[in-house]
Amino acid sequence: MSLTECRTELSASHFPLNMAAHLKKRVYEEFSQVVQIPQEEAPAKKLRLSKPSKSAALHIDLCKATNSTDALQYLLQFARKPVEVESVEGVIRILLEHYYKETDNSVRLKIASLLGLLSKTQGFRPDCIVDDAINTLNNEKSHQVLAQLLDTLLVIGTQLPESPTVRQRLIEMACKHLSDSYFGVRNKCLKLLGCLGTVDAPLTKDNEGLGTSLGGVRDVQSIISDYFGDQDPRVRTAAIKAMLQLHERGMKIHEIIYNQACRLLTDDYEQVRSAAVQMVWVLSQLYPESIVPIPSSNEEIRLVDDVFGKISHMVSDGSWMVRVQAAKTLGSILQVSPHFLEQTLDKKLMSDLRRKRTAHERAKELFTSGEFSSGRKWADDAPKEKLDTNTVYLIASGACGAFVHGLEDEMFEVRIAAVEALSQLARSSPSFAEKCLDFLVDMFNDEIEEVRLQSIHVLREISTHITLREDQLDTVLAVLEDSSRDIREALHELICYTNVSTKECIQLALLELLKNLNKYPTDRNSVWKCLKFLGSRHPTLVLPLVPELLSTHPYFDTPEPDMDDPAYIAVLVLVFNAAKSCPTMPALFSDHTFRHYAYLRDSLSHLVPPLRLPGNGLDLVDSRCSSGSVESAQLFLQQSLNRVSTIQNLEAPGAQDLLNFTIRDLRRLGELQTELAGAADFCATYLRCQLLLMKALQEKLWNMAVPLCLKQNVTATAAAQQILEETYKLEFLYSGLESRQVATIHHVRLQAKALQLVLTARTRQGLDPLISSCEKFLQDIESFQRLFLAELPHLQDSFVDKLLELMPRLSSCKPVETVKILQTTLRQSGLLQLRLPEQIHRATATIIEPTGESDNPLKFTTGLVVALDIDATLEHVQDPQNIVKVQVLYPDGQSHMIHPKPGDFRKPGPNRHRLITQVYLSHTAWTEPSQIEVRLLLAYSSSSTSLSSASPASKLGWSDSIDSLPQPEAAVEGTIPFSKPVKVYIMPKPARR
């Protein structure tokens, strides 16, 4: 009773304030009435006293409602709060009860919608209310409420997917109401049929008795397809959508509806047309090879071709929504015959490819002979010969010029869709790729940058199929002068992948790229890279150009070019890369070229390949290195690791030496073999951790009294700290780690923590901090055990393994004893062998801009800000938007961390990101210019990452992880610098007064 009172007060407090004063009084007056009702329900309520029953509250509210507006208000309020699974049924009963009593349509409507909402409650099985819902449906008069009830039935039906009887009943209901005069009801019926219609219903080709025969007699599909001709466009749309829904649910759509669907393509209403496009497309995917007749002729064509023609026609539809739909759809009809496909790019080839093959040939000739003018030449539209007009149908022009239309559409959405479709089709058909090239190149000139960019990307994707002709290359290269950096870089990327046909093309490309370099010096790296690929792709085309490029002369010595000139470097990059696979080329080099080669090979090793040069001592080393393939390097890596694994048991300095050497070897290997850099570095760092640990443990002074070995303690503490740091680096800096490696890393971290604990115990006096850190350590072990349960078998005889054996003892004993145990275990445990994962990559970042070479300080007024452009490439960084930060270090030790905007990151390639951002600097006045340091940091947070990386299979939902798992360790957050710092010279000047 007291509970209900509470409830009432609560609901009173929900009233709007202006009403509150007046209403509150009334509510209190009504108290006596209110209390009486729950008395009947008292036994049911007592069972779950802890939670006030929703149903009761609702019942009260609804009883209180004097008019429909009030009732509606209560229902609306009620809908805002969730209902527990146990009380759903009760609530539904109450709602239904009120439903029968209610006369107002809007309230009934709301109740009906609430029924649907409640049926969706997780864990609730709505089969108990099916009967009631159907019952209400039969007695309902209002069309709107009927529609809502059908919606509710749909929800119920989808909640009970495995109950065929319920489904059958619902379908019958839907069929019954299909003849309703209100479009909404018909809509919902069709939707219901689409979502619940059974796949296995028999197909009887019984076209009579449209409305009379229900359910099982006729196939769901034929019932739905009857409504393709409904008078209301919304119902027609719903019918098509229902059919599509059936298709999505795996039901095979019958081919007989094809003609109906095609007729809907010319519907007056855009939503019908749009849905019909999808419908026709589905049919084309189901029955691509079946043959359909062409109206007004006795010819037949494949269905997929017919569909392609029809959808192409829709690209010039009146509504842009339909156009987008049609353009998108075209891209996914890949089975279309090539000659139909090619038509889409030729606007002039008017029509009737549908009737006779010979006819198109003839038509083509006629059009090329000047029947139609192109508008590109003066007076070429003078009529020349009479065309046999019988062969040309202008209106039903089929696939002709679909893409020409699509690409010059008014709406850029259509244009983008067309470009995408073009790329999809081109990827599957090389000959089409060849043909669409001109059109794509034209799109480079679009007014919307997005479209331009998209078409460049598309061209890059299909560039494996094509070789650019000179004139095409010319137009492509013209875009190099674009002021948008994204466009230029996309284009550079494109040039990296293109094939060209002649040496003139190479020359042209080089010329334009140099022009680009001159105009936009910041493109330097991108341009060089571009030339690297251009050179290595076309060595034979570069060869005849070499003397000219290097301006060598058979008799005269030419002046030595400036080695710092980016343009000269660009030329050299092109030549050297071409020379790699063209051994005759170095003969054409002059002396200084060789010197420059040596220099560039050293300074820009990623752009200049190793060359076999005559009479050069270096080439031996280089060639061996280059011939030494990745496999041999891998082998070496594996051998080194194996060698290290033998020192398990070795005590003494021999082991340390071996570790030292191995680390050195690995580091060098990483430098030499870029493919293995990540793996080698990873191993080296791991071994370094082990080495440090070993050193720290091998201190002879462990047995000495504490005060005597203060110094050694300090080194050991430092080592522990360093190991911890290194483990974080290992965990977060490398991508491609498996949970086995993560476990190994965590294991080392645990060892380091144990070491720290032991050291604390030795140095610090006082028991309290020790107790807490002991407990913390025990927690760490537990969380380790939980996270890496699957990995524990691999960790036999390790530190953790032993600790877990001793766990019962550890958790009960005193801290001092714990420390003792730890100390011995730590010393006994050996090196855990590292298994190398398949692919391991180290996250790296290179700051391209600022270069840090400038001698001119960046001057600005103190107190104001100055923007510093930062341009950096990031490799192998996952999710850079969240974890990459920019740090600015001022000479006075101040440091700032800047979080770049997500929009500043671009993704030019797989595993590669580009950060182009601006960093705002400010400082108080300095007397003279000084350097600040800028670098990139990788932020990590151990809690989140370790969880997700440790259990990738069973990813926990956010709320679950919060509830069930206590935070295992205090989340360690930190940053790892992963780029070389760049120095920028700045000079804040005092403001002039």
């Binding site: 008078q231 139609f372 508008g375 009529p383 007009t389 202008l394 007014e447 013209a478 002021s483």
Partner: protein, 594 residues
């Protein structure tokens, strides 16, 4: 049969002085009122005497509709309204209304002030004429009078160009004016809904052209300009002040911006600046890109394009100049052309059509030596060697053959009428259209009559409909006819189908009950009530499924049939059975059995 009559006064198998008379449903409408560029005499204006020999046009025309501001569509307007005399409404879109007077004024200046013609309309007349203009919005249905309504659709072509849908009752005509189905740099594509007009009057300037992709042309244009600039040459682009000029300006402006080019672009001043102002204002009439970006920057506020001064023509270094007029026949463009023609580095790009006899036409046809008139008072002919490059790029904003077909498909007309095009080219297109439906191409002054077959709409009262539905059960099928009872009332041009009761009420008539009576003599010895009861029982046994009542006042009711028994005075055994039924009742024969 109702008819729609169409008579072109201009633009029939011709380009220029568009003026088409349409009479539809008893209304007369004039579509466009343009002038011909090629003539300087009376032939430049449409022959209004066709409408009436003397007097004003007001009483013969219900309205005048102007599709866009080009002079060949609106040039004769002040002449017609002020000099011939017309006081009715003139409809045009807002941008047309704004720009039209500027062009008219310019035209007037050239003819009167420069050529010294008299008997021409004055500035005041232009102003008076513009006062009669009623502005239209896109897709706004305007009621000219009770029956005539017009609706404007977007037509592309130039700023403010519109297609009009004219409707009287159920008959309708669509007039396209000039339109463009491919969007360009500043305007969108024409669009119309599926209005299924009886007649579609379409322009057919490019009836035999199917243009290549517009992008090729743009690219070629930009490439040529760019190359020429890089060589250090000067580029002359003769244009007409409005329309293409703005498109090309935007094209070059964005290109300059994208490519970071520095060479100056000039535009000859005067008229253009005023018009540009309107382009900035009527952003809603432009294309998607301009509409979406004008908040950041109005595309018509050019950064790189500056007004031209005569002295700039001699400046060294590369430059691009847009100069009027477009056919190089006079004015600034010709002056610049003369200066630059001698250098092969320079280039002239003709972006549109050139009339025969103009220098533009000559150089396009490859003539490299031109005879020029000197500027001195004495006429000296001298020869000009044309060394510069001559390029032609069609940037005309008319629909091509495919575009015309596309529009036809959009509107789905029943008849087609081609105007505004050369006869030979029209013939070709006509041949193609006629495969699908009727197509006409009247010459000037020739009348085309199209008979229409309009369906007659009838209002039906809701009650009647509901009653009918209650009877019928299933949904009405639009494909099947259905019979129903009702009364058709024809009153003041409107037709109404109502139930008979309502009809009576509305007409103030009393309802007359029509009852048939019949006497059946019967030999029966029983008394009257007994006989009646006997009949009642008999009927009950025979007519199962009918409601049969024995009423206390001595009658038996079978549904609505009343049966009474009366005995004749002479012979009590001879009973007369009185039957009475209303005319609707059909099942009388049932009673016979009794």
């Amino acid at each position: 049969m109702p008819e729609i009559k169409v008579t072109p006064l201009g633009a029939g198998q011709d380009v220029g002085r568009s003026c088409i008379l349409v009479s539809i449903g008893g209304k007369n409408i004039m579509l466009d009122c343009g002038m011909h560029m090629g003539y300087n005499d009376d032939r430049r204006f449409p022959d209004f005497s066709y409408i009436t020999q003397n007097g004003r046009l007001t009483e013969f025309l219900d309205c005048v509709i102007i599709s866009h501001f080009h002079l060949d569509h609106c040039g004769a307007l002040p002449f017609m309204s002020e000099m011939v005399g017309y006081d009715g409404p003139i409809y045009m879109t807002h941008p047309t209304k704004a720009i039209c007077p500027i062009l008219l004024e310019d035209f007037r200046k050239i003819t009167v002030d420069k050529k010294g013609e008299t008997n021409f309309f004055t500035s005041q007349m232009i102003k008076d004429c513009m006062k009669k203009v009623v502005p239209l919005n896109l897709h706004q249905t305007v009621q000219v009078d009770d029956e005539l309504e017009i609706k404007a659709y977007y037509a592309g072509h130039v700023l403010g160009a519109a297609m009009v849908h004219i409707k009287v009752g159920l008959e309708s005509v669509v007039y396209t004016g000039d339109y463009n189905m491919t969007p360009d740099r500043h305007l969108g594509a024409a669009w119309i809904d599926k209005c299924r007009p009886d007649v579609l009057i379409s322009e057919s300037t490019y009836a035999t052209t199917i243009r290549d992709s517009k992008r090729c042309r743009e690219r070629d244009f930009l490439k040529k300009v760019h190359e020429s600039i890089e060589r250090g040459g000067k580029v002359l682009i003769p244009v007409f002040a409005l329309g293409r000029a703005q498109e090309l300006c935007i094209l070059l402006e964005t290109f300059w911006e994208r490519m970071n080019l520095k060479a100056p672009i000039y535009f000859s001043t005067g008229l253009t600046e005023k018009a540009n102002h309107y382009y900035k204002l009527f952003i809603t009439w432009t294309n998607q890109k301009i509409r979406k970006t004008f908040v950041q920057r109005n595309m018509f506020e050019f950064k790189h394009i500056k007004p031209f001064d005569r002295s700039y023509a001699d400046n060294p270094g590369p430059m691009v100049v847009f100069a009027t007029p477009g056919m190089l026949h006079a004015g600034q463009s010709l002056q610049i052309f003369k200066k630059w023609a001698g250098h092969e580095k320079n280039m002239v790009i003709m972006p549109g059509y050139c009339v025969q006899g103009t220098i533009g036409h000559k150089i396009l046809n490859g003539q490299r030596k031109l005879e020029m008139e000197g500027r001195a008072t004495v006429r000296i002919l001298f020869q000009l060697d044309v060394k510069l490059q001559v390029e032609y790029m069609s940037f005309s904003a008319h629909a091509d053959a495919k575009g015309i077909m596309q529009l036809i498909r959009m509107a789905e007309p029943r008849n087609m009428l081609l105007v505004h095009g050369e006869a030979v080219k029209m013939e070709f297109l006509k041949g193609k259209i006629e495969q699908e439906f009727n197509c006409h191409m009247p010459a000037n002054g020739e009348t085309v009559t199209v008979t229409t077959n309009p369906s007659v709409p009838v209002d039906i009262s809701l009650n009647l409909l509901k009653r009918e539905m209650a009877l019928g059960g299933t949904l009405p099928d639009p494909k099947k006819p259905r019979t129903m009872h009702g009364t058709l009332i024809m009153k003041e041009n409107s037709l109404k189908l109502v139930s008979s009761e309502q009809a009576l009420k509305e007409l103030g008539l009393n309802e007359h009950q029509l009852r048939f009576t019949c006497r059946v003599p019967l030999q029966d010895p029983h008394s009257d009530p007994d006989t009646l009861h006997g009949i009642y029982l008999h009927l009950k046994s025979v007519l199962k499924g009918y409601t049969i009542q024995h009423l206390p006042d001595g009658t038996v009711m079978v549904e609505s049939i009343v049966i009474k028994v009366s005995s004749s005075a002479e012979d009590p055994n001879t009973k007369v059975l009185l039957l009475s039924w209303s005319y609707q009742v059909k099942y009388f024969h049932l009673l016979k059995k009794g």
